[in-house]
Symmetry: C2
Subunit: 256 residues, 2 copies
């Protein structure tokens, strides 16, 4: 079994509504979330239960963490939608990622023990705090947990390389297609429709992430709609022809 499903599910469908019925103490539910899919035994689950300490709610627009503050914990997203962004001295900010249920935030801060980005909720969200020192301790005892944690970090690196490719060599329309397909895939993995979803972020935030201006993003949306590949109604997106959307992306494989 793969712990995959939980800390940062990517492969298997997993509706985040599923977890709503496991609503005992925070430790218990997070623990279940974290461990059940890995095939850990009861004792191991017990151990891990102590790691995932408390749960935090962040309102839309609220900060999970700020750049420059001390790093102590990773955060597993239980529900909601967040963006991470680095901010430049002049005040402008660049979005480095959008994050949804099951994903793990804070990996960048391990190196210096200072957060290198802001994490901001784009809708009301809930996260589990995972004290990093404890996670390290426990991963010594549970090898499969350590292994999985390493894979998660590595996957983040691969994802970033994908974005670098996108930013370095794709045109506006290709970038947007890639972005939409990426979202689509992640919604699907969580049990939602892959062809019908609502964007949580503004055109400006999409543009920031894709290295484009908001007007360009808007025009790219319109273009894809004109071609009947997607239907855009403000934040509501329908993918009418996913195959052609994939074509739009060029030959480049979909960014993780």
């Amino acid at each position: 079994m793969h712990l995959d499903k939980i800390l940062s599910l990517e492969t298997s469908p997993h509706n985040h509504l599923d977890i709503s019925h496991i609503k005992s103490s925070c430790a218990t539910c997070s623990l279940r979330e974290l461990c059940l899919p890995v095939g850990l035994n009861e004792q191991e689950i017990q151990i891990l239960g102590d790691v995932v300490s408390h749960k935090r709610k962040i309102q839309r627009g609220g900060y999970l963490h700020h750049t420059g503050t001390k790093f102590q914990s990773l955060f597993a997203i239980r529900s909601g939608f967040l963006k991470t962004c680095v901010l430049e001295e002049d005040g402008r900010q660049q979005v480095t990622g959008f994050h949804m249920t099951g994903e793990l935030l804070g990996l960048d801060a391990i190196s210096t023990e200072i957060h290198t980005c802001d994490a901001i909720a784009l809708e009301d969200s809930e996260v589990c705090e995972i004290p990093f020192l404890k996670l390290e301790e426990i991963s010594r005892v549970i090898p499969s947990l350590m292994r999985h944690f390493h894979k998660i970090m590595s996957r983040e690196i691969v994802r970033d390389h994908g974005v670098m490719l996108l930013l370095g060599s794709m045109k506006a329309e290709e970038r947007l297609a890639s972005f939409l397909l990426n979202l689509s895939r992640r919604f699907l993995a969580r049990g939602y429709s892959e062809c019908d979803f609502n964007l949580r972020m503004t055109r400006e935030e999409i543009g920031s992430y894709l290295g484009l201006k908001l007007e360009t993003v808007s025009r790219a949306f319109s273009k894809l709609q004109e071609e009947n590949i997607i239907t855009v109604d403000n934040k509501h997106i329908q993918i009418n022809d996913i195959a052609r959307l994939r074509m739009k992306m060029g030959n480049t494989s979909c960014v993780t």
Copy 2:
């Protein structure tokens, strides 16, 4: 002390010629390289000695690993200079990084256990192979090693975010300035001159990394030279005014 100095030295000056006198068995020398700076005890060094198995030489133009092949080991660069690049279906390739002595390659492959990029030597190079399974085992026994390994992975994520920022929001000249300053800093950290060095890569490879065409890279070099900020003689670069080069970069901090 920081293991930092070794696996991926960034902070402290460390001339890679220094290690030339430690030339016993591969295990021993790599082991010294890996451990001495971390302040591990003799027993721990002994343990780690078994991990870093054998040394490999790669000729200029040779591959350290290919995309799609099975991942088994990380590689610590002992000497030389390599690039990593992902290749698209249509044959074009994008450089995702340039790597020098002390840096660790292969982190991206941990997630799927398949290499996601090619690693190609830009000059004759030497690497130490570190079987990943063994590294994981041993890091359970030596917490400071595990901690350091996590920091290395995290640092790679931060570096990638820096490149994303560069690709997403900087102009050609700013990108080149940022690139040169990054190289400069890394040479300095290895005991070389920060203002006088030879590029190991072509304009095309720089362009690929920076999301620019080779002509644009060439023009940006010329521009910086016209302004007397640098002196370019083919692959040989002299930084005449590092302060002004930093200004060129805009307010953006230097990409790690």
